[in-house]
């Protein structure tokens, strides 16, 4: 119905949800025709599941670690000595489910064959009787000359042929009759079965005929269709209701919208579009990726459209990346890409703007995955994504202008991340990021008026990114220029939506602080940052920027006078370190490092006792080792201070455990490989001597 579904796009999530993919198929073993008596001790083997044995109540549970709900159940064997499986045919069509109970019916060995023989005899005698009757009738007619010899022969052939065909299949029919479990049957069927056993097949049939099953069946079908149509007529109102609820906001209204979309999805679980709609709602509005994945699977089971399947797999990849279930992501990406590759072979799709944008969504999801794996394949995939985005916007410029800019923003952020956080292909990324931002800015001019606020957010984002990139290559003039543009944009729209623009404004102010810092104007920077910090510490939704500012303030105070300003220095560094411990992962590693470094610095030179000293040192060594691989980020001065700090710590016997001592020792050896000048420093020599002595003890 609605294949024009926007993949699933989301950026900048900071929450994490974890759930384990596992299906439990519960079931029960009963004895045939026993009034539902349970059977214990039955061994059940299914491929992909841990073998199970039924308990006293006949129940068992198959745990599938890799299978997903909805897959076909492959039963390898159902075994108990002296018993045999009755309902094999029904079990062959079973799909794994965590909600439906798997019914296994068994009977004592030999029962089935005996029953089959019994039914075979009944069938045989019934049919032979019927055949004999038919022959007698024909004979009579021939004798009374009602029919000619020719007609007689023809009809006799026909009757004989039918008799033969029925007799051939009789064995299979008889086996089917033997497999019925009376406990599952209603009164009418039991009665009919008894009639058959008594040899009265005709009467059994008239019993069925009297029920007028076909008419009843048709009637039910009609009623069901009517209900479906009535429900479809309600859908528009349901969706408007959900929209108004979301617009209204507040917990109970959001919950109501959730209920509405869930009700739609549950109204027909075989409708892929409904499931997809609900999954999109769960990811976009509730950020509930666990449930989102479940419903995407549901959609997948019933989706036949190639593009839709590609998008579902892409969405699954996004959701699993987000939940850090990266093994699954790799698989989903492969499947999604296979579909896209197939569709790319078709020129109708290749020339369709929507399809191209859909593929871009996929490539972003893949890029996000490689980024998380710290693999520079991310760069190639994202660059490819830009090509396809270019194509889409060439086909329909206005329609996709905003989406295009939005994606470019995403790309720019990724590249900036790759460059600054992961240190991947730094120079190439720098230029590419700037190019992307320029294209994005020119593209935003095409955006429709209704999206001007969203466009403004992105616009300021572009400016900020360009400013950051320029600052990183010491292009100060440009950095200031772009930062000013950012602030101008923010000022223009601030009054319309302060919640949206305040964080950007603060980031931009922090950026100005960075510029001052890089010019070594520490006092000036500190005054600026401190006033920003004072303004924003009460604001709730700007945590990331808050951390950034604290880290910069820490850098500033290190340059202050240790005699005069020690109180201020202590206060700032302490507050910053507290922030780092309270909100891990908010700051970039580099910024976190600056905070810890400042803390150590003040501690070392200010000769003050501070808590968390050992912890800060160890984290710092660890951080330098795992991130600054080429020895580029930190100066010799940084390292010398680190060493001095560690030495000081040893002197005061504050490195408490042997394990930590070992960590320091190994860390120091590795540091020397990267910062060879350290070897000559006095404190390093003293430190190593000290550690060796202690470890020897």
């Amino acid at each position: 119905m609605n294949i024009r579904f926007w993949g699933i796009v989301c950026i900048g999530f900071f929450f994490s949800l974890v759930s384990v993919a596992q299906v439990n198929q519960r079931g029960k073993v009963t004895l045939q025709n026993s009034g539902g008596q349970p059977l214990s001790g039955v061994q059940i083997l299914a491929s992909g599941a841990v073998p199970a044995i039924s308990d006293v109540q006949g129940t068992f549970s198959l745990r599938f670690n890799k299978s997903r709900a909805g897959e076909m159940l492959l039963l390898d064997s159902v075994y108990k000595k002296g018993y045999e499986l009755v309902n094999e045919r029904a079990l062959q069509q079973w799909s794994v489910s965590s909600s439906r109970q798997l019914p296994i019916v068994m009977c004592p060995e030999g029962t089935l064959v005996a029953a089959q023989e019994k039914y075979y005899e009944i069938g045989k005698s019934h049919n032979m009787k019927r055949y004999a009757n038919a022959c007698r009738e024909l004979d009579k007619q021939l004798a009374a000359k009602c029919i000619t010899q020719d007609e007689y022969n023809k009809q006799l052939d026909q009757v004989s042929g039918e008799f033969q065909r029925t007799m051939e299949k009789l064995e299979a029919y008889a086996y089917n009759m033997a497999c019925y479990n009376r406990d599952d049957l209603n009164q009418m069927s039991i009665q009919a079965l008894s009639l058959v056993e008594a040899g009265q097949v005709g009467q059994a049939l008239s019993l069925y005929a009297s029920q007028q099953l076909a008419e009843h069946y048709r009637g039910l079908g009609g009623k069901e269709e009517l209900t479906v149509r009535e429900q479809e007529a309600m859908l528009a109102s349901m969706r408007l209701n959900a929209d108004i609820c979301l617009f209204a906001g507040g917990d109970e209204n959001i919950h109501r919208a959730d209920e509405i979309y869930q009700a739609i999805a549950l109204s027909d679980t075989t409708n892929a579009s409904y499931a997809l709609e609900y999954a999109t709602f769960l990811s976009d509005h509730l950020v509930d990726m666990g449930r989102c994945v479940e419903w995407l699977h549901c959609a997948l089971r019933h989706s036949t459209n190639g593009l839709q399947r590609a998008e579902i797999y892409s969405g699954l990849a996004m959701a699993t990346t987000y939940m850090d279930r990266l093994d699954e992501t790799a698989d989903y990406l492969k499947r999604s890409d296979a579909y896209y590759q197939k569709l790319l072979g078709d020129s109708i799709y290749r020339e369709d703007a929507y399809f191209n944008m859909s593929y871009v969504t996929y490539l972003i999801n893949e890029g996000r995955y490689w980024g998380k794996m710290r693999n520079d394949k991310a760069v190639d995939r994202l660059s490819l994504g830009i090509n396809y985005a270019n194509k889409a916007i060439a086909i329909q410029p206005q329609k996709y202008a905003y989406h295009y800019a939005f994606y470019l923003m995403d790309f720019a952020m990724h590249f900036q991340d790759l460059m600054i956080r992961y240190n991947i292909r730094t120079n190439e990324m720098r230029q590419t990021t700037l190019d992307i931002c320029n294209i994005g800015l020119s593209c935003l001019k095409l955006v429709d008026e209704k999206e001007r606020l969203k466009a403004a957010v992105i616009e300021s984002g572009f400016y900020l990114t360009m400013s950051t990139v320029n600052l990183n290559c010491s292009n100060l003039g440009q950095a200031i220029l772009y930062n000013d543009s950012c602030q101008a944009t923010v000022e223009r729209f601030m009054h319309l939506n302060p919640v949206l623009f305040t964080p950007i404004k603060i980031k931009s102010m922090a950026m100005y602080g960075s510029v001052l810092l890089s010019q070594n104007k520490f006092r000036e920077a500190f005054t600026h940052l401190n006033s920003v910090y004072g303004q924003m510490r009460e604001l709730p939704y700007v945590r990331k920027a808050l951390g950034q500012i604290l880290s910069q303030m820490s850098q500033c105070v290190m340059t202050f006078d240790l005699e005069k300003d020690i109180d201020q220095m202590l206060a700032v560094t302490h507050e910053s370190l507290d922030f780092v411990y309270q909100y891990p992962d908010v700051l970039l590693g580099r910024q976190e490092m600056e905070v810890q470094y400042a803390y150590l610095h003040v501690r070392a030179y200010g000769k003050k006792e501070l808590p968390n000293y050992e912890q800060a040192l160890l984290r710092m060594i660890d951080f330098v080792l795992s991130n600054d691989i080429r020895g580029e980020w930190f100066t010799y001065e940084h390292m010398r201070l680190l060493v001095a700090g560690v030495f000081d710590l040893y002197n005061k016997k504050q490195v408490t455990t042997l394990e930590n001592k070992r960590k320091v020792l190994i860390g120091m050896y590795k540091l020397i490989e990267r910062y060879s000048q350290l070897k000559d420093s006095a404190s390093y020599k003293l430190l190593m001597q000290k550690i060796w002595n202690e470890c020897a003890d």
Partner: protein
């Protein structure tokens, strides 16, 4: 006489051929449509230019109707709209238009409104939403603070809830624009009575009232009841189906021609529904 017949036959074939072949070569698809003015009681709009790729450009007539002639497209194919325009007016239902598929039985509907009306209506909804979120957020903060003061919750719990409230506010503000646009583009003329009442209240700024309309009508409950009814009907139908399959089994076993005939008719019923 016989020769005459042959000749006539040949000529008919020729005529048929002549009649059929042009249709094959220039098989055209017609797509009808109508342009309406938003919230006007279904008033038609004339002189609207409709530009669609693969069709001859056209304008709507005095009844607001238009017909697109596609020469190379087939029934059911997606249509890419290039432009719908009339001076002083703007397009309202752009999203539906992006989902158009050629259909000779279902006419396209284009909804337009005077230029600027959409933006005005969006602005109104925007103010409405913004004020509301601010009030809601402040209420929530007060609640949280009160809970902390009365020691009903731990500090950590407070921070977590505050964080959640912030996220909600941020998200609500981000999505606000989208919702405003969606509401602005709704054509009141096409709505049922229930939706009209809800939107009327929403337009007056009574958000709670709008939601209450649906609550009072028990829309969700009705829908769920219908799902339940549908499931129970399906369950019953599956049950009857099983019975019919039993009967088919028996009929096969019986094997007489009348039984087999009945078996086939039963199978037919099962396949049809």
């Amino acid at each position: 006489m016989e020769r005459m017949c042959r000749l006539i036959q040949a000529m008919t074939m020729l005529v048929v051929f002549l009649l059929v072949s042009p249709v094959c070569i220039w098989a055209q698809v017609y797509q009808k449509g109508i342009v309406l003015l938003q919230n006007s009681g279904k008033q038609p709009l004339t002189q609207v230019t409709v530009l669609v790729s693969g069709a001859v450009p056209t304008t709507s007539d005095s009844q607001g109707e238009f017909t697109l002639h596609f020469s190379t497209r087939k029934e059911g194919e997606a249509v890419r709209t290039l432009d719908v325009s009339k001076t002083g007016y703007e397009l309202v239902n752009s999203k539906e238009i992006s989902l158009w598929n050629i259909s000779s039985s279902r006419p396209f509907t284009i909804v337009m409104c005077p230029k600027g009306a959409l933006a005005e209506s969006r602005r109104r909804y925007y103010r409405l939403g913004e004020d509301r979120y601010r009030v809601l957020y402040q209420k929530k903060l007060k609640e949280l603070e009160a809970a902390v003061e009365s020691n009903a919750q731990m500090e950590a719990e407070y921070h977590r809830k505050l964080e959640e409230a912030n996220r909600q506010l941020q998200q609500a503000m981000e999505r606000l624009g989208e919702f405003c646009d969606r509401f602005a583009r709704i054509n009141r003329d096409m709505l049922g009575e229930l939706d009209q009442r809800a939107l009327e209240l929403l337009d007056k700024g009574d958000v709670e009232g709008a939601i209450q309309v649906y609550e009072d009508a028990q829309l969700l409950q009705n829908f769920r009841d219908k799902t339940q009814l549908r499931n129970s009907l399906r369950k019953e139908r599956n049950f009857v189906r099983e019975k019919i399959e039993e009967e088919i089994g028996l009929l096969e076993k019986e094997g007489s021609p009348s039984s087999l005939q009945r078996r086939d008719s039963l199978r037919n019923v099962l396949e049809q529904y």
